[in-house]
Symmetry: C2
DNA sequence: TTGAAAGCGCTAACAC
DNA sequence: GTGTTAGCGCTTTCAA
């Protein structure tokens, strides 16, 4: 006996007893699975209503082998990007009767695999946002997590659907925009060094440099949040660059505030761009030129891909090529970028 | 037989077979509960490692009567306030090995009770943010949800811990701040009409009016997000008020952008205040004067109260008076408020 | 159409 | 110290 019968909630047995039928019949009525005599069904329903019976999801899960829950692993819930993905995912999943379980790795990369595994055991699938996990580790992990949807990562292992943003393309367009405004000295405020999306931006800038060998391109360390942008202010000023490509909107906003404190005007003295187009980007001072990522769609598409995979598993229709969705950012030109000003004198 | 044995994951039975012991022994080793012969324990551990065995949480949950999961019901995951609470809760709960399950009611008040009930059945407790739910409904619902923690609501039913912000006090301080700057015509941009926290602000303003009968106080309809603030711009201008108390930071930011579009300067022409001090409030144009709510603490304290309740239930130490925590907002004066300007001429 | 019974994977009481 | 067994609450097979 695993449990003392203290504090028992009403279970299927209570309804069965009250309606004078077996558990099985109650189950059938509740799920509308098999045909049940209308009179009996009515009796069962009445008893269920009377007792306010609601099936215990844990018992169902064990019997059914599914939890109607999916997990999402995010590196940092404070990041608007992941908040938006979470929201889109949660709303889309709810429409199909699924709930979302959160696992926040708090940027501790070494925990991600463990969290993801644990989430998978509790859930029917996992959406993994693990920008800093090594490729090898991801490749090893992916098959054990199936059904799995990857955000901003791809892996060769076990055809896993992935949704990603073409950061390379976006940053190139932003850089080109600066060039078209006459900027010749441009600095990139790098994101976390091991972040996959930072690497993509770097790759994009390499292509950009190849096309524009005359542009002086510098690389400055920063990070992925407000503070790292703010802390990079001195380095930005020292660089002498007139156009700054920040890793993302948060970094750009931190920089904006740092420049403002030093009395450096944007865009008159320095042009600044962000990335992501978070909701607040249009309300910064000045409004931020950035690359817009359709972030809400990411969440809902993640759910669609998850559902497709779960159906495939159910049908045993394996081996279907899984989708690799790539979102192209759209450049949003606002007021933080302007033609380069001529040196005084 | 509930399941065809397709696609079986490795279970406790496999480990038991491999180690040549019973399920029970494997369970004992995995949980470190009872004393087990060291040699046998080693054999079990080796088998578990070999098979990469991880206990199935659903089975555990059913046997233990607990899921190590708590649910949170929020009206809108797009709202930074709830994002912050979710985050604080998730991080704090994770520290004790608990996960968070999300239920986003998408502002559909009629769904909240259902969502909360469903969340409670899947989880060991529920944190409920339901600002628009009627008092009567809440009072009826609360006992069925226990352990329950209420955010920004209280209920007389079944002593339920609640965390709330003293919006009344905060809005009075903000109003007083405007008065001290010389403003005599003040308008309040109302939040959702049925929101409990809006009612608190109204109550606070009533007290304020009593203390300052000479101040002309107007009430304008708005809402709780950017757009409602933006849409209220014309009404604000028409009101002739020089000091605006927005329902929250989002509304204030929407208004800021609306005023800017019309060439009305803040704070020179109109002073604007927000509420909440969301992370972006200091980066608006101009930086927003607001009432700071220690929002991250709210989430972690919610977890603490939840844990206390769960322990009480376990100890059957019922009837202990449950905490009603009230957070006092701290006024954060930035640049969106300034002395009222003298009428020209 | 219905009930009895097995089983989902696990924990814990009980007997040895 | 260890195995046997009951039971958590449910679904589904099987036999009637």
């Amino acid at each position: 006996m695993a449990r003392r019968n203290t504090n028992r909630r009403v279970g299927i047995a209570d309804v069965a007893r009250m309606a004078g039928v077996s558990h099985a019949t109650v189950s059938r009525v509740m799920n509308g699975n098999a045909a049940v005599d209308p009179d009996i069904a009515a009796r069962v329903r009445a008893a269920a209503a009377e007792l306010k019976y609601q099936p215990n999801p844990v018992g169902r899960s064990l019997a059914l082998g599914k939890t109607d829950t999916i997990g999402i692993v995010v590196p940092d819930l404070a990041n608007p990007t992941f908040q938006a993905i979470l929201r889109g995912l949660s709303i889309a999943a709810a429409q199909d009767g699924y709930r979302v379980l959160i696992a926040d790795s708090s940027e501790v990369t070494s925990e991600e695999a463990i969290l993801a595994g644990e989430a998978r055991r509790r859930c029917d699938g996992v959406v993994l946002c693990a920008p800093r996990m090594g490729d090898a580790e991801l490749e090893e992990l992916a098959p054990t997590l199936h059904p799995l949807v990857l955000i901003n990562r791809t892996t060769v292992a076990s055809n896993t659907p992935s949704l990603s943003v073409d950061y390379s393309q976006g940053i190139q367009e932003l850089a080109t925009h600066l060039v078209s405004l006459g900027h010749r000295k441009i600095a990139y405020l790098e994101g976390p060094l091991h972040s996959a999306s930072n690497r993509q931006r770097l790759a994009g800038l390499e292509q950009f440099q190849a096309k524009h060998p005359d542009i002086e391109l510098q690389f400055l360390e920063a990070g992925s949040n407000f503070d790292s942008g703010h802390d990079a202010t001195d380095a930005v000023v020292a660089s002498g660059a007139t156009g700054i490509l920040a890793f993302n909107d948060l970094v750009a906003m931190g920089l904006l505030s740092g420049l403002h404190e030093r009395g450096i005007r944007v865009p008159e003295d320095i042009s600044v761009t962000g990335f992501d187009d978070i909701p607040f980007a249009r309300y910064t001072m000045p409004p931020l030129t950035t690359a817009a990522v359709p972030i809400n769609e990411l969440g809902s598409l993640a759910w669609r891909r998850m559902r497709e995979q779960m159906q495939q598993s159910a049908d045993a229709t394996e081996a279907e090529e899984s989708a690799q969705d790539v979102f192209e950012p759209r450049i949003e030109i606002r007021r933080s970028t302007a033609p380069v000003s001529l040196p005084v004198g």
